[in-house]
């Protein structure tokens, strides 16, 4: 029997019960690290199945990627070559490209839970090896980092060095109970409310109640309902993932910070799916801007930054899947960031910011921009 991650109250309950030994270990002053690694095995079997095609693909994928990471790490120490770096990046990206493109072939059942998020962790390792940030690999910790089950299917995306530091840590009892255990359980509780309460109600009574024929009116209702549904569903999932990670002693980063209170789209991405936007910021946007300016491809920082926004958002869109509406979504979000940048540097903005109505008006306008993006993302307008 395969469980979808945090997909039902029963699976959340079961997953949480399995954390009890971690709590006992900490209270006895022991490290949680090895229990976490051990627990990872049955959890992966729960999520992928034992004798399943998913598990087979997962194992082949992990073994190949580990060989690649170790191979690159070993060679990088001896030869400093950009060609080698590009090869390692391309090779690590190959499986996800092939699997995502399989939707256009008769083999569209290929793929496994978490491939997108596991790939983020692997790319991060390759970039960090290239930057010379990784001195020594501990095999078990690296495998644990790549396959860490609480954040397997949809993040938050953790960072290798941060993860490793938590792993070696024995948190004092009192701090563990307050800041990890009770905090974690509260987050799991919030996840229940968000996902099985609010997201469920919105989906059941608004989205599913819409007529099958799309009209302008039904599209507008869908746009707002889907935006709220996606937030409560994904933030709910993130609450579960964060709560579970904390109880295992891993202080994984946050994913949402009241995104609908954003005043503009730049602020929105600092509040929505933060672990992803920070990842894209660090590894794509900043590197794109830095490298294009170093190579003098762009003369002005402003131009480089705006192209950086477009490229980053387009990659983010395509990463969701090889469909036209994801490309449109990426272009839309990139365009929104460029317009936001022009707006934030304008005199109009400086004057508007001083006005009493600034908070309310800019939040309402920003929410419309967000919601339309979600409508594009949902594919609703492209499904008839």
């Amino acid at each position: 029997m395969v469980f979808s991650q945090y997909g039902s109250i029963f699976s959340v309950f079961l997953f949480t019960l399995l954390l009890i030994p971690a709590v006992i270990l900490n209270l006895c002053g022991k490290r949680i690290k090895y229990y976490g690694m051990l627990l990872n095995i049955p959890m992966l079997i729960f999520l992928l199945g034992l004798h399943s095609l998913q598990m087979l693909q997962f194992l082949v994928f992990i073994v190949c990627e580990l060989i690649l990471i170790y191979g690159y790490y070993f060679l990088h120490k001896r030869v400093k070559s950009n060609g080698l770096y590009y090869f390692a990046m391309a090779a690590s990206m190959l499986p996800i490209f092939v699997i995502k493109l399989c939707v256009y072939t008769p083999y569209d059942m290929l793929g496994f839970v978490g491939i997108s998020y596991i790939s983020f962790r692997i790319w991060q390792l390759i970039i960090e090896i290239h930057d010379g940030h990784i001195e020594k690999f501990d095999f078990l910790s690296t495998v644990y980092f790549i396959t860490f089950f609480p954040t397997l299917s949809s993040g938050p995306i953790d960072r290798y060095h941060r993860f490793l530091a938590d792993l070696g840590n024995v948190v004092p009892k009192k701090e563990y109970v307050e800041k990890y255990l009770i905090f974690g359980l509260t987050r799991i509780g919030k996840g229940m409310l968000y996902k099985f309460g609010l997201a469920f109600i919105i989906n059941q009574y608004i989205i599913r109640a819409l007529p099958e024929v799309h009209t302008v009116w039904s599209t507008v209702i869908y746009m707002y309902a889907y935006t709220l549904y996606l937030f409560f569903d994904f933030a709910g999932y993130s609450h579960f993932a964060i709560g579970t990670s904390y109880i295992l002693g891993i202080k994984v980063g946050e994913n949402f910070d009241k995104p609908f209170l954003a005043h503009n789209m730049k602020e929105f991405w600092e509040r929505w799916h933060m672990s992803l936007s920070q990842w894209f910021g660090d590894y794509i946007y900043k590197r794109f801007v830095l490298n294009t300016l170093r190579k003098k491809i762009f003369k002005s920082r402003k131009t480089a930054s705006r192209w950086g926004n477009m490229v980053t958002m387009l990659v983010m869109g395509i990463w969701h899947g090889p469909y036209l509406f994801y490309i449109l979504y990426g272009l839309y979000e990139g365009g929104a960031l460029v317009v936001t940048d022009i707006y934030l540097k304008s005199k109009v903005y400086r004057k508007f910011k001083q006005m009493k109505c600034y908070d309310v008006v800019s939040r309402i306008v920003c929410f419309q921009v967000i919601a339309f993006g979600m409508l594009l993302f949902s594919g609703y307008m492209f499904a008839f």
């Binding site: 801007v289 830095l290 170093r294 920082r301 930054s305």
Partner: protein, 80 residues
């Protein structure tokens, strides 16, 4: 490096494109809305231009460029 503090201030003023940076050396530049992703890339470019030290975005944590004083400490460690 005769004065790391001064270098830190110069780089941050150039990167954030405003003299406001120098008014309070413990001002949180992110909270004040002066520092963003582009400014943090500019920090790397300005540093490279002035000292020849070439860093990657992940070499610098958000906390390293949060205030002028913190950035000065970071520079002391990195370039001595």
């Amino acid at each position: 490096m005769e004065n790391v503090q001064e270098l830190a201030l110069d780089i941050l003023i150039a990167a954030c494109e405003t003299d406001e940076v120098g008014e309070d050396l413990d001002l949180d530049l992110f909270e004040a809305g002066l520092m963003d992703s582009l400014a943090s890339v500019s920090v790397l470019l300005e540093l490279e231009e002035r000292t020849g030290v070439r860093l990657q975005p992940t070499d610098v944590d958000k906390d390293d460029i949060r205030t002028v004083n913190k950035f000065a400490e970071f520079l002391k460690e990195k370039i001595g």
